[in-house]
C-alpha cells in the first residue's frame, strides 16, 4: 500500500511537471509578445527592450522555464502581466468561489443523477427508463453555455426566482450549480442505472425477495448501498470534467472563481495567469484521480492496490 502510494505520488508529480513544460512551451511559442502588451502603443523600441530585460524574457527558453520552476517550488507563480499583481494572490482569492461551486455542482449531480439512475433501473425496459436515459443523454451532450443561458433566462429573468448572475448568497449558487450538475447528472444516471441493475441480479437480492421483504426495504437497505459505492468513487474523476466546465459556467453567471480568471486571462493573453490556472487545475485533476484510486479498495474489496 505504502509503496503503491509512493509510486502514484511520484507519477503524479511527473504528470504535473509534464503539464507545466507543455503549457510553458505552448505559451512561449505564441506569436504574441507580452512585453509589447505591457509597454503599450506609444512605447519606443528601447522601452520595450528594457522591460523585456527586466522580466527576463530575453533569456533562452530553457533558462526561463528553469526560473519558473524554481520560483514555483517556493509557491511563487509570478506576476500577472496585465493585472500587475501576484498570480498566487489572484488564484487564492478566487479559489473559495470555485470550491463552493464544485460542492454545489457535486450535490446537484448526485441528487439528480442517482435518483434518475435508481428509477431507471427499477423501471428497466419501460418508457420511463427510456425517457430518463434520453434525458441523461441530452444532459451530457448539451453545451453548458446554452444550458446556463437558458436557466438564467427562465428562472432569473422571467420568473425572478434567482438573481441574474453574481455571487454572495445561496440563491446565487443554485443556477450555476445546476448548470454544472446537469452534465454530471447524465453520467451518474447511466452509471447508477447499470450498477443498480447489476446488484438487483445478485443472489442476495433474490434471497431477500424470496424471504418476503418489502420492495422498498430491498431497494434501499440491501441494493442501494452496494450499488451506490462504485458510483461515488467516481467523484474524484469528476473533478477533471468540473475543471473544464467552470471556465464556461463561471463566465456565464459572473461567478468569481478561477474559471472566470482563466477565461479573462486567455482573452488578454496574460501568460502568467494562464500558466497558474492550468497548473492549479492539473493539480486538482491529478489529486482527484489519486483520491479515487485510493478510495476504491475501501469501497470495493475486490480491487487491490499493487
Amino acid at each position: 500500500m505504502i509503496a503503491y502510494l509512493g509510486r502514484r505520488v511520484i507519477q503524479s508529480l511527473l504528470i504535473l511537471l509534464g503539464v507545466s513544460l507543455i503549457t510553458f512551451a505552448l505559451l512561449y511559442l505564441l506569436p504574441a509578445d507580452p512585453v509589447r502588451q505591457i509597454a503599450g502603443r506609444s512605447a519606443t523600441p528601447e522601452t520595450v527592450e528594457n522591460i523585456r530585460r527586466q522580466l527576463g524574457l530575453d533569456q533562452p527558453f530553457v533558462v526561463q522555464y528553469w526560473h519558473y520552476l524554481v520560483s514555483l517550488l517556493s509557491g511563487d507563480l509570478g506576476r500577472s502581466y496585465i493585472q500587475r499583481s501576484e498570480v498566487t494572490e489572484l488564484i487564492v482569492s478566487r479559489l473559495p468561489a470555485s470550491l463552493l461551486l464544485m460542492v454545489g455542482a457535486i450535490l446537484c449531480e448526485l441528487l439528480i443523477g442517482l435518483t434518475m439512475g435508481l428509477i431507471a433501473a427499477v423501471k428497466r425496459g419501460t418508457a420511463t427508463d427510456q425517457t430518463l436515459m434520453v434525458a441523461s443523454f441530452v444532459g451530457v451532450s448539451a453545451p453548458q453555455f446554452v444550458v446556463g443561458l437558458l436557466l438564467l433566462y427562465v428562472f432569473a429573468v422571467r420568473l425572478s426566482w434567482f438573481p441574474i448572475g453574481g455571487y454572495g448568497t445561496w440563491r446565487h449558487l443554485v443556477l450555476p450549480s445546476l448548470t454544472m450538475g446537469i452534465l454530471g447528472a447524465g453520467w451518474y444516471a447511466r452509471m447508477m442505472r447499470s450498477s443498480m441493475i447489476d446488484v438487483l441480479r445478485q443472489d442476495y437480492v433474490r434471497t431477500a425477495r424470496a424471504k418476503g421483504l418489502a420492495r422498498g426495504a430491498i431497494l434501499f437497505r440491501h441494493a442501494l448501498p452496494n450499488a451506490i459505492l462504485p458510483v461515488i468513487a467516481m467523484i474524484g474523476i469528476d473533478i477533471g470534467i468540473f475543471m473544464g466546465g467552470i471556465v464556461v459556467v463561471e463566465s456565464v453567471f459572473g461567478w468569481p472563481g478561477i474559471g472566470q480568471l482563466a477565461w479573462q486571462a486567455i482573452q488578454r493573453v496574460d501568460i502568467p495567469i494562464i500558466m497558474g490556472v492550468t497548473l492549479v487545475s492539473a493539480f486538482a485533476i491529478v489529486l482527484g484521480n489519486l483520491l479515487a484510486d485510493i478510495v476504491a479498495p475501501f469501497i470495493d474489496p475486490r480491487i487491490k492496490l499493487r
Binding site: 506569436p31 523600441p45 461567478w255
Partner: protein
C-alpha cells in the same frame, strides 16, 4: 518657426486670461445636480490596475481619472483644456518652458497636502524604466528624458521645483501637445510615501487627490469608490458612492439594467441586442449617442508589392463600400474618409476622400499593371464583428478583381504580424484600431502613420514613412501658442490630406459610442459620452431619486 509672444506683457496677459478661465470652470457645477446617492456600474473583466502610471485600458482610464488629478484637465463632456491641480500656467515665448502655479490646500486621500515635489516625483516615476509605464513615451519632450529612459539618471533634469506651489518644465523642443500630456492619466499626481509603501501593488491601493477614494476592492467581484469629502473642487462629486461589479457578461448586465438593478453597463450594449434596444422607445430614450476619437481602417503594407504602388492603394480605397460595412454593424459607426475622426480638432470637413467607384478602381489597377487583379491576404482579429467586416471587405475587393484570403487571428497575433515588415499585406484594424490618447490631431500621426512607428514591433502597419510629412508634423507641433491652435489644426489637416493622397490606409468608419443608463441617472448628455471619460464622467453625473 514664428515667435508668438515677444513681450512679457503679452505673457502675463495670457496667464491672466487662463486664471480667469479656471475660475469659470470651478463655478461650472450643474445647478440641478442632486447631492448623494449611489450607482452601480458593471464590467466583464477584472480591473487591471488603478495606478495612473500603469493603467492604460478604457476600463480603468476613467476610474483613475476619478481617483487622481493632473495639472490639467478637460471641461466635463468636452475636449477643452482647463487647469486642474494647476491654478494657472505660463508658457515662455520660445514654447519650451512651461511654468505651473499649483492650487493651495489640495489634499491627498491620506490627508497630506499635495505640493510641487509630488508633481516632480510623479513624472520622474512614470518615466523611470523600472516603473514599466506604457505612457513613458509621452514625456519624451522633457529635458533629460533620454538619460532617464536609458537608465543613466533617476530624475528628469527638465523639471524644477521652484517653490512648494510652483513647478517648471523645460523641454528639449517646443511641444504643442504638452498641456494635453499634463492632462493624461500618466501625469496624474501620486504621493511618494504611499507609492513606496505599497511598491508594485500601489495599483491595488491607489491614493490620489481625486473626487473619489477607493473604499473596497474585492478581487474579481467588486470595487467601491467613496466620495472624497475633502475634494478641492467644492460641490463635486455629486455621488456618495460608485460600485463597480466585476465579472458580468454584457448580456447579463443589460438584463439587470432592464430590471433596474444596475445603472451603467460599462461594456455597453451587446451587439446582438443592439437593434432590440434601439427599437424600443422607452429603452432608446436612455441611450446617449456620441462621437468617439476612433477610426477603423485597412492598412496596406507600402513596402510590399503590389501595395508599393500608390495606384493600387487608391484602387483599394475606391473599392470599399463603407456604407454597407456600417450597415453590417447596425449603424454603430459613421463612414470615414480620412484618418482623423470628426470630433477631433483638425478634422477636414471639406475633404471628400475617395468615392466608392468600382469602375475607376479597376481602371487604376489596370494602370498599375494588374488588369486582372492579384492575390493577397487580409489579416483581421477573430472576434465579432471583425470577421464579418473582413468578409465584406473581401467581397468588395473581389468585385475589382483582388482575391484576398482572410487570416482571422487572435488580437496579439494580428498585432505581431502588423509589426513585422514582411508580416501582413493588409490588415483590418477592427478591435485594435487607434483610439486617441488625448484630443489632439498629432496623436493620430507619430506611432501609426509617422516614420517613428514604422519599426519592427511598431504600430505603423502600413510601414508608411514620409520624411517630408515628419518634418511638417514637427513644425506643426512647435506651434505652442494656444491662440494659434486654429492655425496649427489647419497644418495638421494638410498633413492628413497629403497622407490620403498617398493612401497607405483605407479609412472605413468612425465608431460611435452608445452609453445606456438607468432612468434615475441625471446630468447633461455629454457627460455620458465624455470624450476622455469612457464610459462616463463619474465626478459630474448624479442620480435623481435622492433627497
Amino acid at each position: 518657426m514664428k515667435k508668438f509672444l515677444t513681450s512679457t506683457v503679452a505673457a502675463s496677459a495670457l496667464v491672466l486670461m487662463l486664471g480667469m478661465a479656471s475660475a469659470r470652470a470651478e463655478d461650472a457645477v450643474d445647478p440641478n445636480a442632486k447631492q448623494g446617492g449611489a450607482i452601480t456600474v458593471t464590467y466583464k473583466d477584472d480591473v487591471a490596475t488603478l495606478d495612473p502610471a500603469i493603467g492604460y485600458d478604457w476600463q480603468n482610464w476613467s476610474m483613475i481619472k476619478s481617483l487622481f488629478d493632473g495639472l490639467m484637465d478637460y471641461e466635463p463632456g468636452t475636449t477643452n483644456l482647463k487647469p486642474d491641480l494647476a491654478e494657472s500656467y505660463e508658457i515662455a515665448p520660445d514654447g519650451k518652458t512651461f511654468t505651473f502655479k499649483l492650487r493651495h490646500g489640495v489634499k491627498f486621500h491620506n490627508g497630506r497636502e499635495m505640493t510641487a515635489d509630488d508633481v516632480k516625483y510623479t513624472i520622474d516615476r512614470v518615466t523611470n524604466p523600472k516603473t514599466q509605464s506604457p505612457g513613458a513615451g509621452f514625456f519624451g519632450s522633457i529635458k533629460g528624458y533620454d538619460d532617464v529612459a536609458a537608465g543613466k539618471s533617476e530624475g528628469l533634469s527638465g523639471i524644477t521645483v521652484v517653490d512648494p506651489y510652483t513647478v517648471k518644465f523645460e523641454l528639449s523642443r517646443p511641444d504643442a501637445t504638452f498641456l494635453h500630456v499634463m492632462a493624461i492619466n500618466f501625469s496624474h499626481v501620486v504621493p511618494k510615501e504611499e507609492v513606496e509603501k505599497y511598491g508594485a501593488d500601489f495599483g491595488k491601493h491607489p491614493v490620489g487627490t481625486g473626487a473619489f477614494k477607493l473604499a473596497e476592492w474585492t478581487l474579481g467581484q467588486r470595487i467601491v469608490f467613496e466620495r472624497n469629502p475633502d475634494y478641492w473642487h467644492k460641490g463635486l462629486p455629486h455621488l456618495d458612492k460608485v460600485t463597480f461589479e466585476i465579472g458580468q457578461e454584457p448580456i447579463v448586465a443589460l438584463l439587470r439594467l432592464q430590471k433596474g438593478e444596475i445603472d451603467i453597463p460599462g461594456d455597453g450594449i451587446p451587439p446582438a441586442k443592439f437593434q432590440e434596444v434601439m427599437a424600443d422607445p422607452e429603452q432608446k430614450a436612455r441611450v446617449v449617442v456620441g462621437g468617439q476619437l476612433h477610426t477603423g481602417y485597412i492598412t496596406m503594407n507600402t513596402t510590399m508589392a503590389p501595395f508599393d504602388n500608390v495606384k493600387v492603394r487608391q484602387a483599394v480605397n475606391m473599392a470599399i463600400n463603407k456604407d454597407r460595412i456600417v450597415q453590417l454593424i447596425n449603424n454603430r459607426a459613421v463612414p470615414a474618409n480620412q484618418p482623423l475622426p470628426p470630433s477631433m480638432p483638425g478634422y477636414d470637413k471639406e475633404f471628400k476622400g475617395y468615392p466608392h467607384d468600382v469602375a475607376k478602381a479597376k481602371a487604376l489597377l489596370a494602370e498599375a499593371g494588374h488588369p486582372d487583379g492579384f492575390e493577397t491576404q487580409l489579416f483581421a482579429m477573430n472576434t465579432d464583428p471583425n470577421p464579418r467586416i473582413a468578409q465584406a471587405i473581401q467581397q468588395d475587393l473581389a468585385a475589382v478583381g483582388i482575391k484576398a484570403s482572410i487570416q482571422s487571428l487572435a488580437q496579439a497575433n494580428v498585432i505581431a504580424a502588423g509589426g513585422d515588415k514582411a508580416g501582413a499585406p493588409m490588415i483590418w484594424s477592427g478591435g485594435m484600431a487607434w483610439i486617441a490618447d488625448f484630443p489632439d490631431p498629432s496623436n493620430f500621426y507619430g506611432p501609426i502613420l509617422g516614420c517613428a512607428g514604422a519599426v519592427p514591433g511598431g504600430w505603423n502597419w502600413s510601414w508608411y514613412c514620409n520624411k517630408d510629412l515628419d518634418a511638417k508634423a514637427a513644425e506643426a507641433d512647435s506651434v505652442v501658442d494656444p491662440a494659434k491652435a486654429g492655425e496649427r489644426d489647419k497644418m495638421w489637416s494638410a498633413i492628413y490630406d497629403k497622407i490620403m493622397e498617398d493612401a497607405p490606409w483605407a479609412p472605413v468608419f468612425n465608431e460611435q459610442r452608445f452609453t445606456m443608463k438607468s432612468a434615475r441617472m441625471g446630468g447633461a448628455d455629454n457627460l455620458y459620452v465624455d470624450p476622455v471619460h469612457i464610459p462616463i464622467n463619474y465626478d459630474n453625473v448624479y442620480v435623481n431619486d435622492v433627497q
